[in-house]
């Protein structure tokens, strides 16, 4: 694991009008790590994801993926280099079947497979996330938990090097959360590096190797889950939301 980091975020800042959404975010993401990203609502977590995969370029700073500067590239370029993503609010291609959704990921993602090859990959990935019996259904007919799995399958079918997971656990019941955490671990074991945003604290603390805490766009803490949970600055940031603070402390 002593290779060069797969992703380097260097001094990244982003402003929306008067709102400083991200201020000088800097971290390295080593190959094979699961890095958790936490922070109160509006802390800039999703904005950071949007910067990394090119939805909008950062105003300052650089993003380096596998040693190459990807700052300002379009989302589809970044996707082709091997960055895949799931969304907080799921974005299935509603009218396409489950299988077709996943095939799109494989067809146009990192490996640019043909339609025939994509179908094989899609079936394999659907088996992995447990959606194989729903392959012919339109994506719109799935429930929320299944749509989250579909998003994950679509991202995985691209065979990415780096996977950005934006609240894949939100809205799931405890059993589903446990299953999803297991799936995330297995993805890492396949060699995919993972950056994960999550509000379900015990799960995130459990699955992450390292955690970064954002608050009002500032990076206020970084370390192992244990270090971060006991950091006074983090506790203070969460005091506006005492329940979260309590949970954060309680679960550790």
């Amino acid at each position: 694991m002593s290779q060069a980091p797969i992703l380097q975020v260097q001094d990244v800042s982003k402003r929306f009008g008067g709102l400083q959404a991200l201020a000088h975010i800097t971290f390295d993401l080593p190959q094979g790590e699961i890095l958790g990203l936490i922070g109160p609502n509006g802390a800039g977590k999703t904005t950071l994801f949007n910067c990394i995969n090119g939805i909008y370029p950062p105003e300052e700073g650089r993003l380096v993926f596998q040693g190459q500067d990807i700052t300002g590239l379009k989302p589809y370029h970044i996707a082709r280099r091997g960055v895949a993503r799931t969304h907080q609010i799921v974005q299935p291609l509603e009218e396409l079947s489950v299988l077709e959704n996943v095939m799109v990921g494989s067809c146009f993602g990192h490996e640019q497979r043909s339609l025939g090859e994509s179908e094989g990959i899609a079936d394999e990935v659907l088996g992995f996330v447990g959606l194989v019996e729903r392959r012919e259904q339109p994506a719109a007919s799935l429930n929320v938990a299944q749509k989250k799995r579909l998003e994950l399958a679509r991202a995985l079918a691209a065979r990415p090097f780096l996977l950005l997971l934006d609240e894949v656990l939100a809205g799931l019941n405890p059993t589903e959360i446990a299953e999803m955490v297991e799936v995330v671990r297995q993805i890492r074991d396949r060699g995919v590096t993972i950056l994960i945003i999550e509000h379900v604290m015990h799960a995130l603390m459990n699955v992450s190797d390292r955690v970064i805490v954002l608050d009002y766009g500032e990076q206020i803490a970084e370390g192992t889950p244990g270090e971060v949970a006991n950091d006074p600055k983090v506790i203070e940031a969460y005091l506006g939301d005492p329940k979260l603070a309590e949970r954060l402390m309680g679960e550790e």
Partner: protein
């Protein structure tokens, strides 16, 4: 008398169908109403006319050039006029394509004037009861069916086709999955104008036309799209057949000048009773 004129109308309906399919495809993929649809149909007619009278080319051979030209023209129109307003409200895209409409009509009127033309091409006819159906119409209908089949194969069995359907469903998600959405939109626009040009080219083999003739076919395309469900290509073909059938039947009972009146009565009725179209919108 009724049966042959109905058949005649149905044959024409296939050709109307692919014109409408062009309009429908562009709407379905990018929510743009292409007001340059009519002039592009007319350009398809003039393409065949110029190839036939100028170069002495067989109209069906010339059609291949019209297909390529229509596709390229559409991609060009997308990048020049539509791309910069693609995320703007519908009025902006309407005005942008209307501007293209005016530019094409202006330039083409200057070059060709508005005097009527026809492609003097005759393949004889196929006798059906008391009348004979001209082969040009039969071939036009067959060509339309072939084009529809190829379009479906393209959309459902190829990678660019899958990209078009993904972009049509959710543009932002498609981009994140590695699809260059702007190029896919340009391709879809190109395909839409290509279908319009093909229909114009086929119509020119049996009807006289002027450079302004496209506008009446554009209006028919709107009626057909509403009949079949806007954004649904197969619906467009079926809507085309329905309209063609009406055009075949109505003259048997009343003056031909009533045809457009009844067509638009139907248009309004469908909008009132079943605004999603007979087959529902989008695929």
């Amino acid at each position: 008398m009724l049966v042959p004129s109905l058949m005649d109308g149905l044959l024409l309906g296939f050709v109307y169908g692919i014109a409408a399919m062009g309009l429908s495809l562009i709407w379905g993929v990018m929510d743009v109403i292409n007001l340059a649809h009519g002039p592009i149909i007319a350009l398809g007619m003039f393409g065949i006319y110029l190839g036939f009278t100028g170069l002495g080319l067989n109209p069906y051979l010339m059609l291949i050039l019209v297909i390529g030209g229509g596709l390229l023209l559409g991609v060009l129109i997308y990048w020049v006029a539509v791309h910069r307003v693609i995320n703007a409200p519908h009025l902006s895209t309407l005005l942008a394509t209307f501007a293209v409409n005016m530019i094409i009509i202006g330039i083409a009127t200057a070059i060709f004037t508005t005097s009527p033309r026809n492609v003097d091409f005759n393949l004889g006819g196929f006798p059906v009861g008391p009348i004979t159906l001209p082969w040009t119409r039969i071939l036009a209908a067959l060509a339309s069916v072939l084009v529809t089949a190829l379009l479906y194969l393209f959309l459902y069995q190829t990678r660019p086709g899958k990209a078009i359907r993904a972009v049509s469903d959710n543009r932002a998600a498609a981009e994140l999955m590695g699809i260059p959405t702007s190029w896919i939109l340009a391709l879809a626009f190109g395909l839409g104008t290509m279908l319009a040009a093909i229909s114009g080219g086929l119509i020119s083999t049996f009807f006289p036309f002027t450079i302004l003739a496209g506008s009446s076919y554009e209006l028919k395309s709107f009626v057909i799209c509403v009949l079949g469900g806007l954004g649904n290509p197969l619906g467009a073909l079926i809507g085309g057949l329905l309209l063609g059938a009406l055009e075949g039947i109505i003259p048997a009972f009343m003056e031909t000048s009533w045809v457009p009146v009844l067509e638009f009565v139907l248009f309004v009725l469908i909008l009132l009773v079943r605004p999603q179209g007979l087959l529902g919108s989008k695929t």
